[in-house]
């Protein structure tokens, strides 16, 4: 190969300057469509993350701060006339005062503590089970057929399992004897968890004085926590966690140890 020939080969094999890239209309449409679909996918994932890690916890925080407002007020409120002025911190169920029946829907009348749900878990309890006024905003609702804590019968509280604060998310995790404390302006009702039952939404006899039993006079003071089942988002069934009143602590005697150990105010 002569030098001239060699130069010619090099020149020829040098890549030509690329022509300016011009995409057709169709390929532009496909490109933008693809980018939009990818973006949409990312946004859907982001929405799920937002729901679980931002929205739901923020609703739960709002509900907890409603509870804290009432706890603050009750610290300085006068006890009702039926509350024993006992210094004895444990009043037997038979002598527990009956909490006053609230007068209006969405009235907050109690705060629930469930140590099994976490150290910082406390939620306000409102009157009625209205979806928008009570369950979505305040969190825990009370069936108006309920007897009030302290009275022989059944107090049934309902709340969301997952979403809108997820109050009763861990309702399946109760163990026999777990304490549940319901604070009112008069003091603390301490219940012990007994059993769980699964029913459907038409089993309204769960609200009976003796839950799920018709025409029977009640002898014990039951607290029923109710939510939907199964997780994460189905309401095919209802789940019921039953507990029985163990003792009452008047406000004058100070909070029971279980409550003191929790993170509340």
């Amino acid at each position: 190969m002569t030098t001239a020939q060699h130069r010619a080969t090099v020149r020829r094999s040098r890549p030509a300057a690329p022509p300016p890239r011009r995409r057709g209309v169709l390929s532009n449409i496909v490109l933008v469509l693809g980018e939009l679909l990818l973006t949409l996918g990312v946004l859907v994932l982001a929405f799920v993350g937002w729901q679980v890690w931002m929205f739901d916890p923020s609703v739960a925080r709002d509900q907890t701060s409603i509870a804290d407002e009432y706890l603050q007020d009750w610290q300085s409120s006068e006890p009702s006339s039926n509350v024993p002025a006992a210094e004895d911190p444990t009043v037997e169920p038979d002598d527990a005062p009956v909490a006053a029946t609230p007068s209006a829907t969405a009235d907050v009348w109690g705060v629930l503590y469930v140590p099994r749900f976490g150290k910082d878990w406390r939620r306000p309890i409102a009157w009625g089970t209205d979806m928008t006024q009570v369950l979505n905003r305040i969190g825990i609702g009370t069936y108006t057929q309920s007897t009030m804590p302290g009275a022989v019968g059944n107090t049934t509280l309902a709340s969301h399992r997952a979403g809108m604060g997820s109050s009763f998310y861990d309702i399946e995790k109760f163990r026999l004897g777990d304490k549940i404390v319901l604070e009112t302006k008069d003091g603390w009702y301490t219940y012990a968890y007994r059993n769980t039952q699964y029913i459907v939404d038409t089993d309204t006899n769960v609200l009976n004085p003796v839950p799920l039993v018709d025409d029977k006079a009640a002898t014990s003071r039951v607290l029923t926590l109710q939510s939907c089942n199964p997780l994460p988002i189905s309401n095919q069934e209802r789940i019921m966690a039953f507990s029985v009143l163990e003792s009452f602590t008047p406000r004058s005697a100070g909070a029971p140890d279980i409550v003191k150990k929790l993170g509340g105010s």
Binding site: W50, Q51, F55, Y143, T204
Partner: protein, 53 residues
């Protein structure tokens, strides 16, 4: 879409990058503040939890 945005942004590459991230952050903020709550309220209404006859 993303390429087009990159091309219309002015300045040297580091300014482009900064503006690009700014635009994305602004869009994400708007989505989280307005779009997600609207989607939640419209398509993810809370389900019924109570018992009733």
């Amino acid at each position: 879409m993303y390429g087009f945005l990159w091309r219309i942004l002015p300045g040297p590459w580091w300014l482009k990058l900064f503006l690009y991230l700014l635009v994305i952050a602004a869009i994400l903020w708007a989505v989280v503040t307005f779009v997600f709550p609207w989607v939640q309220a419209t398509y993810f209404a809370p389900i019924d939890v109570t018992v009733h006859g």
